[in-house]
Symmetry: C2
Subunit: 158 residues, 2 copies
Amino acid sequence: MEGAKIVVAVDESEESMYALSWCLTNLFPHDKHSTLVLLYVKPPPPVYSSFDAAGYVFSSDALAALEKYGSEMVNSVMGRAEAIYKNFSTNIKVEKVIGSGDAKDVICSAVEKIRADTLVMGSHGYGFFKRAILGSVSDHCAKNVKCPVVIVKNPRKK
Amino acid sequence: MEGAKIVVAVDESEESMYALSWCLTNLFPHDKHSTLVLLYVKPPPPVYSSFDAAGYVFSSDALAALEKYGSEMVNSVMGRAEAIYKNFSTNIKVEKVIGSGDAKDVICSAVEKIRADTLVMGSHGYGFFKRAILGSVSDHCAKNVKCPVVIVKNPRKK
């Protein structure tokens, strides 16, 4: 029997890294052969979002800088995630998925496409880019994905 | 080290029983000494809710019948839950907590009081009594409790 696919939505937040730790501690006991899927969603290409949201246009230099920033962010987030799961076990099967667009839609559709068994995410993720103007990403995902959803809070806010 | 306290909010719904099964399968591996806390919230006493919500008064016979119905419901829900966890393992430490009042408030305050490590619940629970008029109970709890919250959907709706 193939193991479960557990998606963790990671982003720039401490909370999402804590969600990953929670997931590894609680959903990856040693006798299971689950696959950890790290899902990171890049913000939509800035050329569109700058027109749509803010109503002004970035110079091409600023655009290039933003795109470079986006790629560096992917590496930074995935690097932090890697340090966390390698600290737990070197035996975990890991897949990395990078999406692009509106985080809440991309996460929901990725979960369906991957046929995930569980989605784990922070409660206030994706605040860094202020992408979640209408309600939080975790709210939306909890309502819309069909598999169980684990919403993890930042323990520092306790 | 004492094990974690995992609260499962159970109610009349199939979904909450499925949430309990998910919890036992995924959060109770054999090497952990967690305590399963079954939390059932009875609706508020009908004499108050009848004045508050519907604006009319039940006869005392109807009140007695409703209260009896409430107690029978506790036994029925706890009985179903018991059958499920005993089917998984006879070694699980189980506590039963019965609350009374507005499900979303009672669940949130019980989770804090018990110092639960995780709350597991169905996504559409407590619909039986239509107690969740303003938003779902799981939405509210996911936003308000400090520990990780697992929201489990009825797999039949897939």
